[in-house]
Symmetry: C2
Subunit: 148 residues, 2 copies
């Protein structure tokens, strides 16, 4: 069954999301929102387009994630002074407060998910999945080049 890898990845990702969301239900923030926040933490002032590229989602997907985070007062859109089409993204103080609590939740969940795996196996898992991701990421780029 050669299709298993795709299904497997999808399953584990979904179970991961589900488990994370169950643990942070009260916080009003989801796994993927938290992810965006952690990225933003290290790239404050980034525009939406580059951020979408960074986390490899479509611009419109990011746009709507930001909508919800702005609504929740975790992210702020500021007009880019150099380009009136663009927004720059910033975290609010509230986001900073959330970060640390989420962090330990995520760490605990990761530990649970990798229970029974040695450190070497974890490294290997990350390495292999990263290579798969890179392959799939590359495909998208090729597709774009073909169009051009």
């Amino acid at each position: 069954m050669s299709e298993t890898i795709g299904f497997l990845l999808n399953d584990s990702a979904r179970l991961f999301r589900r488990a994370f969301n169950a643990r942070t239900k009260g916080s009003g923030i989801t796994a993927l929102q938290w992810r965006l926040i952690t990225y933003l933490k290290r790239h404050e002032g980034i525009r939406q387009g580059p951020m979408a590229e960074l986390i490899e989602v479509e611009p419109i997907t990011l746009s709507r994630m930001v909508d919800r985070l702005v609504e929740a007062e975790l992210v702020e859109r500021r007009a880019d002074p150099a380009d009136r089409r663009a927004w720059q993204l910033y975290l609010t103080a509230r986001a900073g407060e959330l970060l640390s609590g989420m962090r330990s939740t995520a760490d605990a969940l990761t530990a649970e998910a990798t229970e029974g795996l040695s450190a070497a196996e974890c490294d290997q898992l990350i390495d292999l999945v990263e290579r798969v991701r890179a392959n799939l990421s590359r495909r998208i780029c090729q597709k774009e080049n073909e169009t051009a």
Copy 2:
């Protein structure tokens, strides 16, 4: 960065879905629908509940996937003669026709995704991700038991 595994899995799964959907755009069927069909192929007559358990999604999620597949005339709901609350799921002839074409698409995509990985590495990837999935799957069960 210990949260990386969750994010990584999510990324690769999403890129996988995206690539699959891009390749089968004309067919009117998505990656996840195709997945359900392949499971159904080997479990015809199964009820929705057990099928949801099999693919580890919530019953309501499965219910709506089935809605769409019924709409597309790929799946048929038949009343369970032994339980008037339940449906039994069957594939239509049209689903059978789709299966073979999808199959080669999926195989090709899997090959692309695992390009550069040796056979041993593929096996290892599957093994490791399966163990992660099992860990996360177990957590859900424990949570349910706690509630009871």
